[in-house]
Symmetry: C2
Subunit: 300 residues, 2 copies
DNA sequence: TTGGCTTATACTCAATATGAGCATAAAGAA
DNA sequence: TTCTTTATGCTCATATTGAGTATAAGCCAA
């Protein structure tokens, strides 16, 4: 007995502009590029590429699968059928003058913990979560949930901030009824723009995957221009992870891994001493593609 | 335009018996437990659980999604429809006297690189791959593919063996036409039992995921009995990863991470001095569930 | 022209973490 | 008893990491 199914492909397409990670959206920032799998698509990846390029005009590079959802709230409105969503993370380089790009942190201001906006947002969240648990009847549940808040949002610096827990933090806020998607009135919601359906949740999944992946695979270079200075590279990693990096140690680690090589050219507009330009060389030099990237991401 | 779809759920259910990782199979070891998603399933995970329990009678614990496939060779034979397969990794504890369990390394003998069988198998593979690239016309392609062989199978110890590349190694053997699934005659195939469809590929995906995950999440304990000695724990990690571990350093790392606590009881049947028994305590002690596991897996 | 600001780049130093091994303890077996 | 086996405690050299100092080389404004 096969039921009526519909497969939706959803892309979290990410690029970096002016050291700020951005995501491609449609519908005025309320939806991720997406569309149904069609019989003309040769594969799932091909389908994702087709939809993104059709809806945004932007060709995409690196693509990897994120997650497949088929919850019960994903029922087709047209009948007894079921809607399955397969989400993808895609990375791409430049995008001068295109529309549809939005900052990651418009949707997740609290994830930008290195900025003032992020810190303010976290302070608000802390208060709201505190109120949320205070209203719980069962004492044991209250303690456990507060523990969860503390460890996910690094409240009270007994626990270090873990930048990879983007999804878990969003889900906690959802459960606490502090995001618009959970049906809460805007005045009770945490800062950050909402999206339709569960697209903000999918964005969180993509952000978490990318934050995890840049630690052990050289995927950052998918987002960098051909030539870049080491500070530019550092800025991109910092803004992706939302965490500060010690400059000298960052250089040391990048250099000793031999992922980059000097181009011989110089960037003059640094605001200070000119900087050497580098290019990614992991692809060419090592046919062994399975190299890692170690980054000194620390907590301040 | 929605096409006719069928969703298949496939489980890589893993347990450990006598320090050997095993996978649950049906059809005499030729298939992984699997079945179509039905409208009665409340979620994908629930569907996986239902199918595994119906086909094998074994209840499962930890479950996580692996990958969703929809390649063109996955067309429904009944028409123009498409078959989508969503695969899951599941972990479970004991399974005394159940049928259907097979050793991981019956399917992937070369992945058991710490044993003699594994080393012999790797020697055979090296010869076959050597012959494969030797027959290539284009010199540039030959060099690149040989590079790939060298780095994936750690040929000539210029490169260290990477135990997480299970899937990449299988895919290389598939491309080289050295596995039965690629349609090669049995006498040309590499050792290791084949499976129907792409189930061996999915098993490889599950093995790779588990090998990667035990390094940074305390999932091993899902496979351990309630009480265990540190050597038992080490043996399980070694057999999962196919890599040797330095005993004293392993103990040091496990102890200092405070993932386990003494039960106060003693295991007598060690073959030597009796050993203390431990239990996993990460779950209870730390409501912060996001703890890691660091293991000193080295290459000999 | 000079001092101040910015970023770049080279090095140092202490604290940890890691790989490898030694030594002793405690059981059973020959 | 002596040998073998596993358990467990401890040392030591080396590598990695976090943090900071020092100097270089641009720009700009006084």
């Amino acid at each position: 007995m096969t039921t009526q199914m519909m497969i939706e492909l959803i892309a979290v397409l990410t690029a970096v502009r002016d050291d700020v990670p951005q995501v491609m959206t449609i519908d005025h920032g309320r939806l991720l590029p997406s569309g149904p799998l069609e019989s003309t698509h040769r594969s799932l990846q091909a389908g994702v590429r087709a939809w993104v390029e059709r809806q945004t005009g932007h060709p995409i590079g690196h693509v990897e699968q994120l997650y497949t959802f088929a919850d019960h709230d994903r029922l087709l409105t047209t009948g007894q059928g079921r809607l399955i969503a397969i989400s993808y993370l895609a990375l791409t380089r430049s995008h001068a003058g295109e529309t549809g790009w939005r900052d990651w942190y418009d949707y997740f201001p609290w994830e930008n913990s290195k900025t003032d906006v992020g810190r303010d947002c976290l302070a608000i969240i802390e208060r709201l979560l505190c109120r949320w648990v205070a209203n719980m009847d069962n004492a044991a549940v209250r303690v456990r949930q507060w523990q969860r808040c503390v460890s996910l949002f690094a409240i009270g610096d007994m626990v270090a901030w873990n930048d990879e827990l983007v999804l878990q933090r969003y889900e906690l806020l959802y459960e606490a009824g502090l995001v618009a998607e959970a049906g809460c009135p805007p005045e009770d919601a945490v800062p950050g723009q909402a999206m339709h359906h569960d697209h903000r949740r999918i964005l969180a999944t993509g952000m978490a995957r990318l934050r995890a992946k840049i630690r052990y695979r050289p995927v950052v270079f998918e987002l960098m221009p051909e030539e870049f200075t080491l500070l530019q590279l550092q800025r991109v990693m910092e803004s992706l992870s939302g965490v500060q990096i010690h400059k000298q140690n960052f250089r040391r680690l990048i250099m000793q891994q031999q992922l980059v090589e000097e181009t011989g050219r110089i960037e003059e507009n640094t605001g200070g001493r000119p900087a050497r330009l580098y290019r990614f060389c992991g692809e060419v030099r090592q046919a062994r593609q399975f190299v890692g990237t170690k980054i000194p991401l620390f907590q301040p």
